[in-house]
């Protein structure tokens, strides 16, 4: 289980629930690879938004 730590586990769930309104129960019923895909997609999406904002400024 070297890919993850308990601290990181809770940090990711907190971020998804607090900032992006995912439910904790829904996240816990995903497969770990699905969660990782969603986190990657969300990270890409946020980066795209940030780039667009920077371009507008």
């Amino acid at each position: 289980m070297s890919h993850n730590t308990l601290g990181n586990y809770y940090q990711v769930i907190f971020s998804l629930a607090q900032h992006h309104h995912y439910s904790i129960a829904d996240i816990e019923n995903l497969y770990p690879f699905e969660r990782d895909i969603y986190v990657d997609m969300l990270t890409d999406y946020l980066k795209k938004l940030e780039d667009e904002r920077a371009g507008l400024a």
Partner: protein
């Protein structure tokens, strides 16, 4: 009877010791949490229990009992479940004697169980007598002898021996050791001649295990070979 509802991807995996196919599903994020909590505690018994719990949850073949898995079966099944749940590539690094770190990608799909060559499950003590051996079940590692941390190496070997003998036969008589009182089995084993005892001891010292090789050449041009044989090797390296 109503058909079962399938709401998970399902994979076939063959249990190495009995060559029986079972169906597994990936673990869920909440099951990954069980493993991470156990890992945080660093207690080998809790880690073992967490792995057993996850394997038990993820094997979905109806009549299957995970308490009947040997340790190498349990480790193998866990790696397969980990592979379909998180990914089949584990990144590890190894510090060589040259002081440099060498990174590797381990493909969990390529890990096999290695059975010792020429190992037989029959240990003869005479023309018509002998022991029928079996691989000890993983549950042995949750017994007091293995979890207390106070047992001597000899006591652990004795425990393995007690759990590795299936039957003793002499002619047409067969004694199933699991049905005999523990103290009587121990007394019986203590009364064996040294040659037979050593054969049994050799059997338990060379049980099948996970096996994966990593080869690389270090900065001094020396070819190195690392053998990974336990779950700890795959996850701690």
């Amino acid at each position: 009877m109503k058909l079962p509802k399938i709401d998970h991807p399902i994979y076939d995996v063959t249990i190495p010791s009995i060559k029986k196919k079972v169906k597994i599903r990936p673990m869920l994020v909440k099951e990954e949490k069980i493993l991470l909590m156990a890992k945080e505690g660093s207690n080998p018994y809790e880690i073992f229990q967490a792995i057993k719990q996850v394997v038990n949850n993820c094997i979905i073949t109806g009549d299957f009992d995970s308490n009947k898995l040997t340790l190498f079966d349990l480790e193998y099944m866990f790696l397969r479940i980990r592979s379909v749940s998180i990914g089949n590539i584990v990144k590890v690094s190894y510090r060589d004697e040259d002081g440099k770190d060498y990174p590797f990608d381990i493909d969990l799909e390529k890990i096999e169980v290695k059975f010792p060559e020429n190992q037989e499950l029959l240990i003869k003590t005479g023309e018509t007598s002998g022991f029928k051996m079996k691989y000890p079940l993983a549950t042995i590692y949750s017994t007091e002898a293995f979890t207390s941390g106070t047992a001597t190496e000899q006591e652990l070997i004795d425990e393995l021996i007690l759990n590795s003998i299936d039957d003793y036969f002499d002619g047409e008589n067969v004694w199933r050791l699991a049905q005999q009182p523990r103290n009587e089995i121990k007394e019986f084993i203590d009364g064996l001649d040294i040659a037979t005892y050593n054969k049994i001891r050799e059997f338990v010292a060379a049980l099948p295990s996970l096996y994966y090789e990593v080869k690389y050449t270090n900065s001094n041009g020396k070819e190195q070979l690392i053998k990974l044989t336990t779950l700890t090797d795959f996850f701690i390296l």
